[in-house]
């Protein structure tokens, strides 16, 4: 069948030549037996993008966590420094030496209590 002017009035869906072309092309297979490799590559996407894990994808929270860690570290350093300085001062005066005999009196008192049934 040749194309004529009357063909222009046809419903395009009945244009067999074009429909055949589409039918042929729709049947074109993009599969050549390498799907497994291709699909495996796609399935690796989550493992290649763990930092973008949708469940944990919260970049601003990450930044806040880093700041919190940094502030905590600075606070710990400051506390440690203050404690060290206090210890140094105490050592100099000898007034706050807590290392020896702290519980000695208590322990003595405890064992000085008569134990029921003793003797």
């Amino acid at each position: 069948m040749n194309e004529t002017d009357t063909d222009k009035n046809k419903t395009p869906m009945t244009d067999t030549a074009i429909d055949q072309l589409f039918a042929r092309s729709a049947a074109v297979s993009s599969s050549t037996g390498d799907e497994d490799a291709f699909l495996a590559r796609l399935k690796a996407v989550p493992y290649q993008n763990r930092q973008a894990d949708p469940a944990g994808f919260a970049p601003f929270q990450d930044v806040r966590a880093l700041w919190a860690q940094a502030i905590g570290l600075v606070a710990a350093l400051a506390a440690g420094l203050a404690f060290g300085m206090a210890g140094a001062v105490a050592d100099d005066s000898g007034a706050l030496d807590l290392s020896d005999g702290l519980f000695d009196g208590d322990m003595v008192e405890y064992f000085d209590e008569p134990v029921e049934g003793d003797q």
Binding site: N2, P12, M13, I18, S25, A26, S30, L42
Partner: protein, 174 residues
């Protein structure tokens, strides 16, 4: 997608099995070679993984959403380098046809492919979705974010444009 949004890689694998090859076919219908089409699909799945938490199932089906990503990326690639010939690996594996028939069919497929490559993006997309991916008009319209009536009108114009291209190249035969 709910599981994928929670970071479930095995659920993601199910989506890959279901849509991976089909999406590659979709990308290749835009004239991309297999390697480029696979890159496009991988990029689309990566975006799907990263943005899974923001996917709204009430607004679109996953396949619709993914198809949009693939089409947009495929069109980007197509604009970058408009193909003038059928990719070497764009071919059917069909032992039931003779060599002559296969040559004739290949020629037809090539003609169709070249005509599609010269169409406007929207025309090509309407034809590819409807006739090559065999989507319903409703699905195709959803992917193209159009009303069904508007899509049907677009499809009609796309077919007319395709016919014109094919006739100008003397490739149509009945």
């Amino acid at each position: 997608m709910t599981l994928v949004a929670k970071g479930d890689a095995s659920a993601f694998g199910i989506l890959v099995d279901r849509y991976g090859v089909r999406m590659r076919g979709l990308a290749m219908h835009y004239g991309l070679d297999r390697a480029t089409a696979e890159d496009v699909v991988q990029d689309a799945f990566t975006r799907a993984w990263v943005a899974a938490g923001r996917f709204d199932a009430d607004k679109a089906k996953f396949s619709t959403w993914l198809s949009r990503i693939v089409i947009n990326r495929a069109l980007d690639e197509r604009r970058r380098k408009r193909p003038t010939a059928l990719p070497e690996d764009y071919d059917a594996v069909d032992d039931s046809v003779s060599a002559d028939d296969k040559m004739a069919e290949d020629e037809q497929a090539r003609a169709l492919h070249e005509a599609l490559a010269r169409l406007k993006d929207r025309h090509a997309t309407a034809l590819i979705l409807t006739y090559m991916q065999e989507r319903s008009n409703a699905d195709s319209a959803a992917i193209m974010e159009m009303k069904i009536k508007a899509f049907e009108s677009l499809l009609l114009r796309a077919r007319q444009a395709l016919k014109k291209h094919l006739m100008n190249n003397g490739k149509t035969r009945s």
